[in-house]
Amino acid sequence: MVLLNSSAHQIYWLGRYLMRVKFAASHLPFTEDEKATKFAAAFGLVIENAELLNHYMLDKKQTFSLLNQLIIAKDNIQELRGILSAHAYAELNNVINTLQPQPDALKKAVEHCTQILEAEHEDIYLFLYLGQKIEQFDIKLRFGQDLSALVSELDVVVRQLAHLNWENIDENWQVLKQQLTWDAYYTFTQQLENMFEG
């Protein structure tokens, strides 16, 4: 299999969206307004009511709702149609088409999608994993959580990418490891985007 940069890019973002949905779904339903407000604020949303945030997250009409994130993930899957096995494409398509707007259903759907993708070619898995880990990095940075374990995991991925002649990203990765700031994070992820452009 020859993996195109554009396909790797789609897989990377698919990994990010799936992780984002998994994370947010794991917090649903919110029962306390204070926790909901903090959670929403971390994503730049001003929603100060737990029930409202629960509703927002599962509302297809809202651009940043979890359901819409999965619809975007479906677009990524469509773009990958030439590279995924027929079985994987059909399963992924089916999972998303039959999705129910409930937190547990969302979590299961994301887990199922991830399992399907993990069984595909190792190159697909590498970029899926990269996307998942970068999204986790983003989330942990947002919530001020400990990043040390994640940094170790990403270290391994960056080394694997170097074998694909992606060693250019190493310098900014070293900066990010030392600084753990938004600036360093954006510089690193922007460089990833440039690598995907080729």
């Binding site: 020859v2 993996l3 195109l4 677009d75 030439g82 590279i83 398509n93 190159d123 080729g198």
Partner: protein, 516 residues
């Protein structure tokens, strides 16, 4: 833009009387009524040539097996199988978007459970006729882009070629390996009331539908495995492998690297593009994956640039390269034509092949076969009147109410007159058009297209069909997988097999008759 050949459309050329005979399948249980049910297809006798009943060259063994298989099932059981087929298509994501559908609803193409059967002997005639035709068309393309002997000898009027929108001046004096311009050709074939085969149209640009052909077989084998085995079907599953080999054989590179170029996922044939790329194990690319440097084409991969030797393109000439064709093309690759003309990459099918499948050129294909191959055409053309010729125009104007008139450059059934169905106002309007611009029109007689038994909500009924075999050409060989795509007009009396207008598909079984 549209992929010209994706619209699975049988031009609504041939007027027929609508009829609605339906054979009754046992609504409850077959076993008590077997003697009544075994003449299922006989109940469909009508004025049309029925593929399963009226072919005297066949001993009907395969048709009989299908008839018996149907007869031991209730209508509900058969409907359930058709529903399973639909579910299979939905699950596999074998869907298409209809252009202009605001809802963006994904539709599945209707699949009819009852296969169309072609005896091997008949198939051999179709295959050799298609191969002969494509060979002549490739010679013709090479000739008009080089010596233009057929024009100089006035077999085809020069103005019809040089003034044709699909004629591609870039291709003049550009030689192709083995003179192959159309590596992938789809030949649309119909049968008339006598069962005679006619070529309705040649598709040499980006013929589509081959994925439906393969999926039809997959679903047949899933839903009626015993019947498939019993009929010893000729295989078609090797088509993607053959396609890849043929594409590579058109390149002079060692171990040629092939890609499929798609306009993207919004194209109605995207499923097919992805299917073929996956099955051939080659990358499916859009223009943003490709770039040209020093007249070489490269694709961007995670392991660096990879030189591309063959591009199986699924977009029209106009969009291939904004530097050579439409400057506003957002789908093309800048510099592609320059790389192509330097012979650093093969584009399949070649730019400029469209001039050979134009409706105004179609009437000359018989002469091309005689001229280039010194052979008699194996498959006939539908008789065609060229309104640019005075004597033809006189005849057409005198018989407008009996003829089908089409725009020479038209497609998709637009801008045409179906004389027997037209009002006097419509006929008068066309008369004016013909007199004003006769060179823009052709006319054909009305034929009674063949029918095949098809499962409907009320039982088995006859529906009109056509056939599109796919011809693969390299400098070394011509390959045609046995069968092709059978398209079926699902509405009673309708001739429209266009997928966006409810047309459907059948599996096409080429079977070897075992005479007892």
């Amino acid at each position: 833009m549209s992929e010209q050949e994706h619209e699975l459309h049988l031009d609504n050329d041939f007027f027929i009387q609508e009829q609605t005979t339906t054979a009754l399948i046992n609504p409850t249980s077959f076993l008590e009524h077997i003697s009544v049910q075994t003449n299922l297809f006989e109940q469909l006798k009508s004025q049309f040539f029925n593929e399963m009943l009226d072919d005297v060259t066949s001993n009907g063994a395969a048709s009989k097996k299908i008839e018996q298989w149907l007869s031991i099932r209730t209508l509900d059981e058969l409907k359930e199988l058709n529903a399973q087929a639909k579910q299979h298509f939905l699950y596999q994501g074998i869907t298409f978007n209809v252009y202009g559908d605001k809802e963006g609803t994904e539709r599945t193409i209707p699949f009819d459970l009852i296969p169309r059967v072609i005896e091997k002997k008949q198939w051999e005639k179709i295959a050799s006729g298609c191969a002969q035709r494509v060979k002549a068309l490739n010679y013709f393309l090479d000739d008009i882009y080089h010596g233009q002997h057929i024009l100089k000898e006035q077999i085809i009027p020069e103005e019809q070629i040089m003034g044709n929108d699909a004629f591609q001046p870039h291709m003049l004096k550009h030689s192709l390996k083995g003179k192959i311009y159309s590596q992938i050709s789809g030949i649309d074939i119909i049968r008339d009331g006598e069962g005679e085969f006619f070529v309705l149209e040649d598709n040499l640009r980006t013929p589509s539908g081959v994925s439906y052909m393969i999926e039809s077989r997959n679903i047949s084998q899933k839903l009626m495995p015993e019947l498939c085995i019993a009929n010893n079907l000729q295989g078609i599953e090797h088509y993607p492998k053959l396609l890849k080999e043929i594409l590579q054989e058109n390149s002079s590179a060692d171990q040629p690297f092939v890609v499929v170029l798609t306009p993207g996922r919004f194209n109605s044939a995207y499923y097919e593009h992805a299917f073929l790329a996956r099955e051939m194990d080659v990358p499916l690319v859009t223009n943003r994956d490709l770039f040209v440097e020093n007249d070489q084409v490269f694709v961007k991969t995670i392991r660096g640039r990879q030189k591309v030797d063959v591009i199986y393109r699924r977009l029209d000439d106009d969009f291939l390269d904004p530097l050579a064709f439409r400057p506003d093309s957002a789908l093309g690759v800048a510099g592609l034509m320059s790389a192509y003309l330097q012979k650093n990459v093969v584009i399949a099918n070649a730019p400029g092949t469209g001039v050979a499948d134009d409706k105004s050129i179609y009437p000359y294909v018989d002469q091309m076969i005689q001229y280039y191959l010194d052979e008699t055409p194996i498959l006939k053309n539908v008789p065609t009147y060229q309104c640019r010729k005075e004597e033809h125009l006189d005849y057409v104007l005198s018989n407008l109410d009996q003829l089908v008139v089409k725009e020479a450059q038209g497609s998709g059934g637009y801008g045409m007159l179906i004389g027997p169905k037209a009002s006097s106002c419509e006929i008068d309007e066309f008369r004016k058009k013909l007199i004003a611009m006769p060179h823009m029109y052709i006319a054909q007689p009305t034929l009674a297209l063949s029918v095949a038994p098809t499962l409907t909500t009320g039982g088995v009924a006859e529906r009109h069909i056509d056939l599109r075999p796919f011809v693969l050409s390299s400098p070394y060989r011509t390959e045609i997988v046995p069968g092709g795509l059978t398209r079926v007009a699902m509405q009673a009396g309708s001739l429209v097999v266009n997928s966006s207008q409810g047309g459907g598909i059948k599996d096409t079984w080429v079977v070897e008759t075992l005479h007892s």
